[in-house]
């Protein structure tokens, strides 16, 4: 288990600039902030509001020795594995989704011991980001006690100084970089999200560098018109990337549903050809730019997915 120095992360935040400047850049430029060996936290959960435009841009770079953390990981993990980018996964669950069965490429690497998988409970993942976001080294909780998950990760316990109760001491996680996809952001990095927040707020506040992609870049006035929707303030964000349909083929709450047919095709290929299928997927879909990827899906398909989302919204 990696022990993260919360104080070092804090020192970086103390000295980092907080200038209110235009932070817009391309996805290609933004992922240059990520280096070999970094811990990259990926926002959203499973196939919801995954920052796919940023993930694809990062895949294109063929970085090495990355650690990736996510609350629940979907097939993007397999793409990092298939391109040799990944040393370690930190998550509570790695799959695609129940209908697609066990993830073939993940199994290939995990069962050969070719990737480390630090398996935490779902709440422990949330508390790790939250402790990181709070600037404290751990949070006490009742999660993971008595389990082999705790033994395997050498999870320590603490005794409450008031009551003597024994609690799990869930260690802080301060990722090097967080990738977040949002509905709206202004050029300074004020970020708004509709619907589920997943673990994005804590993940971003814990991270040393935060890259946000957004469906829409809006004016600061539009942000100020609905300040209650703002999830992250500008000073917690380092880069802003315009990315309409930036979570496709995953879903974006209220905007578009997931492209489950796309998942079907991927899962069939992955079962058949293993990592070769993962690599082929990256070459075909990520190594081109994101606009071409969306164009290949086609405007009709994207409109269909948008209609699916529209239908599910409360009215």
């Amino acid at each position: 288990m990696e022990h993260v120095a919360v104080l070092a992360a804090r020192a970086e935040r103390e000295t980092a600039g907080r200038r209110t400047v235009d932070k817009r850049m391309t996805a290609e430029a933004a992922v240059q902030l990520i280096r070999d060996g970094d811990h990259v936290a990926i926002g959203g959960t499973l196939y919801s509001r995954t920052p796919m435009a940023l993930v694809f841009a990062l895949l294109r770079q063929r970085r090495r020795h990355l650690t990736v953390s996510r609350p629940l990981a979907c097939y993007e993990i397999e793409l990092f594995l298939s391109t040799g980018a990944l040393d370690r996964i930190v998550s509570s669950w790695v799959g695609i989704g129940l209908p697609w069965g066990l993830p073939a490429i993940f199994r290939h690497y995990a069962e050969r011991g070719e990737v480390e998988y630090d398996e935490w409970s779902h709440l422990a993942m949330g508390l790790r980001y939250k402790a990181g976001a709070m600037g404290v080294p751990f949070l006490p909780s009742l999660t993971m006690l008595g389990s082999d998950l705790a033994t395997r990760l050498d999870l320590q316990t603490v005794t409450c100084p008031y009551t003597g109760q024994r609690l799990a001491a869930v260690p802080a996680l301060n990722p090097d970089v967080a990738l977040i996809h949002a509905h709206r952001a202004d050029m300074f990095g004020n970020v708004q999200v509709d619907g589920y927040q997943h673990m994005d707020v804590d993940m971003a506040r814990a991270a040393r560098t935060v890259i946000v992609s957004a469906e829409q870049i809006v004016s600061p006035e539009q942000i100020a018109a609905r300040p209650d929707r703002t999830m992250l303030p500008h000073f917690a964000v380092d880069a802003v990337v315009a990315a309409p349909y930036g979570a496709y083929p995953h879903e974006c709450y209220g905007r578009y549903g997931p492209d489950l047919q796309h998942f079907d095709a991927y899962a069939v290929a992955a079962k058949q050809d293993g990592p070769a299928a993962g690599l082929r997927y990256v070459e075909q879909n990520a190594d081109v730019d994101f606009a071409s990827f969306l164009a290949a899906a086609g405007p009709a398909r994207l409109a269909e997915l948008a209609a699916d989302a529209e239908e599910l919204m409360p009215r």
Binding site: Y47, K130, L312
Partner: protein, 256 residues
């Protein structure tokens, strides 16, 4: 009702255990369906919570979510919050029931969803805990629903992803898990619980037409037997109809 599938039988049996005016923390798939059946039939004030951050969802028939984090899971919801927050409600004691499936479960109700074989040399690396470890540690009463077969009902799980009664007796409480208890285990063959002193799994009731011998045959450890083993009432036509409508949507009646 001879055409009932094992999954339908388990979901309907489980749905009957959920009472009105309670809060259930359900996962996708069968737990969610069982909870929805209860809400539509005998527990209209049952609040369904999903780990994606959803409180009070109502399902759209035929449009069941595959993930607790997707839009479909929030249909009709009263509140959306973040994931960590949902589990903190559980830790606070708000959730009456937690609902779990199991790749492997042992005689003390420990659940494995991490690995078949050893962690060092896994035969199959499974996806992992997800919220299961938290649900079994934090909810007030946990229901386990799974198909009854020897490869699932094992003497000792390969890996304790989610702690049941650990090694029995007071070992769960000694680990620091002071709250929460394991209620029932629902299978396609039987309804089981845990004997209060030893905390070992105990047979309480049989699904219609099933014998004690059949249950023993499909269990990989020695089962305790309850004092009186009853037979469960078969699913009614109404229960099956509700279940199928929720799963498939309203099926148009074909006229000949």
């Amino acid at each position: 009702m001879s055409d009932i599938t094992a999954e339908e039988l388990m979901a309907i049996t489980a749905s009957r255990l959920l009472t009105d005016h309670k809060v259930v923390f359900a996962g996708v798939g069968m737990p969610l369906l069982a909870s929805a059946v209860a809400r539509h039939r005998h527990a209209p004030h049952l609040t369904i919570v999903l780990e994606g951050g959803i409180i009070g969802t109502s399902l759209r028939p035929g449009q069941l979510p595959i993930s607790t984090n997707e839009m479909r899971a929030a249909y009709g919801a009263q509140m959306l919050t973040d994931i960590t927050d949902i589990f903190l409600y559980a830790q606070r004691g708000f959730f009456d029931y937690g609902f779990l499936g199991a790749a492997q479960v042992d005689m003390y109700g420990n659940i494995n969803t991490s690995v078949i074989g050893s962690m060092e040399r896994p035969r199959v690396r499974l996806p992992g805990s997800g919220g299961a470890n938290d649900i079994i540690s934090l909810c007030n009463e946990v229901l386990i629903v799974t198909q009854h077969e020897p490869r699932r009902f094992v003497e000792r799980v390969d890996f304790v992803t989610s702690p049941g009664y650990l090694s029995g007796g007071e070992s769960r409480a000694r680990s620091g898990l002071l709250a929460g208890r394991l209620g029932a285990v629902v299978t396609d063959l039987a309804l089981l619980d845990f004997e209060p002193a030893s905390r070992r799994m105990r047979l309480c009731a049989l699904q219609p037409g099933v014998t004690v011998g059949q249950v023993r045959e499909q269990t990989g450890f020695e089962l305790l037997l309850g004092d009186e083993i009853t037979e469960l009432t078969p699913p009614s036509a109404e229960e099956v109809a509700i279940y199928r409508e929720l799963r498939d949507g309203r099926v148009a009646v074909e006229t000949p």
